[in-house]
């Protein structure tokens, strides 16, 4: 579904990502790990259009997407969450999700201004759909509170929910378990499986190795912006390069 080919990004003299290749097949959870500062989030920013790579190609469903704007990439079917929580804090939980549906909705300026019948119908449907999605991630009971009032773990869930609202084919999750307690992590694990069942591919950055080893079908390891290793989790766990990168050493 997503194929990244030799992507390089430089900030002046600093090479943030160098010749990274990777692939996310349909219906799989692919993990991206690496020490802090390895360029994982930068890599997400490249895929989601925040940065344009200096070299290389990104192919999504047969279309080259490098250089497109973030909103265009969202429209093509790649949603994302953020490492630092980026919710619309003063909006309610359900409104956050409806904003996530932006590209799925059609009503424009004038139909909104005059509240046409079509517009009202679409709005009602959108909010119903948003509530269903909140049910799906387990936040239905908080729907009408402001997003800023949720607990940290709930905010993470809301980020995922908002991402799912655009009906993506692929969702990029940037450290979804950060700040979650043990119970929430188990719930997140279940949620990821449920997302897969909807036939949405997942590319995930996560530091929690236990979670990662359990959920990921395939792992890529980044270090100093370069791909250090790739393989199924059991291989990665034993890879001496990876152990060295994480623990230091020769």
């Amino acid at each position: 579904m997503l194929k990244v080919d030799n992507v390089t990004l430089r900030f002046g003299g600093l090479v943030a990502n160098s010749e990274v290749c990777m692939e996310v097949p349909d219906g799989k959870i692919v993990g991206l790990i690496g020490p802090n500062g390895a360029g994982k989030t930068t890599f997400f920013n490249i895929i989601s259009g925040v940065y344009t790579p200096n070299e290389g190609k990104i192919n999504f469903e047969g279309q080259e997407i490098q250089g497109k704007r973030p909103h265009q990439i969202n429209e093509l079917g790649i949603a994302r969450t953020y490492q630092v929580i980026n919710l619309f804090r003063k909006m309610t939980v359900v409104e956050n999700v409806v904003v996530g549906m932006h590209t799925q909705l059609e009503q424009g300026f004038f139909s909104s201004l005059f509240k046409t019948k079509k517009e009202r119908e679409e709005e009602t449907k959108a909010f119903e759909k948003a509530l269903e999605l909140l049910e799906f991630v387990g936040l239905r009971h908080r729907a009408y509170e402001t997003a800023g009032s949720l607990s940290y773990g709930e905010q993470r869930l809301l980020e995922i929910c908002r991402g799912l609202a655009s009906q993506p084919k692929l969702i990029l999750l940037d450290e979804p378990a950060a700040g979650m307690n043990a119970t929430e992590k188990v719930e997140l694990d279940h949620l990821l499986q449920k997302i897969l069942k909807k036939n949405i591919g997942i590319l995930i950055i996560e530091h929690d190795m236990k979670l990662m080893m359990g959920v990921a079908d395939y792992l890529y390891v980044l270090n100093y912006g370069k791909l250090l290793a790739e393989g199924v989790p059991s291989e990665i766990q034993k890879n001496p390069d990876v152990i060295a990168a994480y623990l230091g050493g020769e």
Partner: protein, 326 residues
């Protein structure tokens, strides 16, 4: 969910009817008590609420500051006055055309300005306000009447002249209700949510598929339309316009009213306008102190009441209703 939207809808209808009732009763009281100047103040309240609601769409909802909105007010006022006098366009139509022109100018300004953030944007809009002011003051061939000013026609529909105080107030009240309804519709829609999302977090908004630049431009143009229409209302009710209404002071006045009343709401602009205009009347005898008082007011609001008057009222209502529930 249906219940909730239904509830919101009926609440907004009740609010509008309430506003209509108050606005219909006030002039009768003023008339009966012989305080006919009160009606003139009401007309100005209508005009300013339309303008400040327009600024609210830009600043309150989409989070972009403008310190040059007097420019759009001027485009609306002079545009409509000139269209009706030179080209004989019927007055209400001329107000709409002038407002469309203002919206286009706003979009044109927003195109480069959408890349600017807060303080740079306020500088750019101050400059824009100054440019329009100078153009009005020193127009080519004196088509705006320059410093002398420009006489305007009164509003008329099919030959019926809205020239008496009462008539003018009536038509301004209708305009006000239409604009308030339009604003309410817009902010509670896909477009309005995009504005708020941009204000709250423009990176995340872009990540959610919102074309941030496009929506910033839409917000600017819509805001310009509102303010320009208010400018048209002003021009055709006072009968005579001159450049000193459209100085930087006017832009500051709009912002003061908005901040004082409270941003991103329907009632914030209403309360802000009413409060500031009443204060304005009270300070009429010491005109040179006005700016000082506004400055002090603005400082108090920004430091002590970030939600404005409406924010305070809302908190009070919430507290009382909570106590009632207990």
């Amino acid at each position: 969910m249906k219940e909730l939207t239904q509830k919101l809808k009926s609440k907004s209808i009740v609010e509008n009817l309430g506003l209509l009732a108050v606005m219909a009763v006030l002039p009768i009281i003023f008339n009966a008590s012989g305080f006919s100047y009160g009606i003139t103040i009401l007309v100005f309240i209508c005009i300013y609420i339309v303008a400040v609601s327009g600024l609210d769409i830009l600043f309150g909802y989409s989070g972009q500051i403008s310190m040059g909105h007097a420019a759009f007010y001027a485009i609306g006022a002079y545009g409509s006055a000139m269209l009706s006098r030179y080209l004989n366009v019927p007055v209400i139509l001329s107000m709409m055309i002038a407002s469309i022109i203002a919206a286009l100018v706003g979009a044109l300004l927003a195109y480069p300005a959408s890349k600017l953030v807060f303080h740079f944007l306020s500088l750019a809009t101050i400059a824009f306000g100054e440019i329009v002011y100078q153009l009005v003051l020193q127009s080519p061939n004196g088509i705006t009447g320059n410093a002398v000013g420009f006489p305007t026609k009164s509003i008329s529909i099919f030959g019926f002249q809205f020239s008496s105080n009462f008539n003018v107030y009536f038509i301004c009240m209708i305009f006000l209700l239409l604009f308030l309804i339009a604003k309410g519709n817009l902010v509670n829609s896909r477009v309005g949510r995009a504005f708020i999302a941009i204000r709250e977090n423009s990176h995340a908004a872009e990540g959610m598929g919102i074309n941030v630049r496009k929506y910033k431009i839409i917000a600017f143009a819509t805001s310009a339309y509102f303010v320009a229409f208010a400018g048209g209302m002003y021009a055709h009710t006072v009968g005579y316009i001159s450049p000193d209404t459209f100085t930087n002071k006017q832009s500051v006045m709009f912002v003061t009213m908005l901040l004082f009343g409270g941003t991103a709401s329907k009632w914030g602009p209403v309360m802000g306008v009413v409060a500031v205009l009443i204060l304005n009347e009270l300070l009429r005898s010491m005109e040179n102190m006005q700016m000082l008082v506004y400055g002090a007011l603005l400082l108090v609001v920004i430091l002590a009441l970030p939600g404005g008057i409406f924010g305070v009222v809302k908190d009070l209502v919430n507290k009382i209703s909570k106590k009632g529930a207990m």
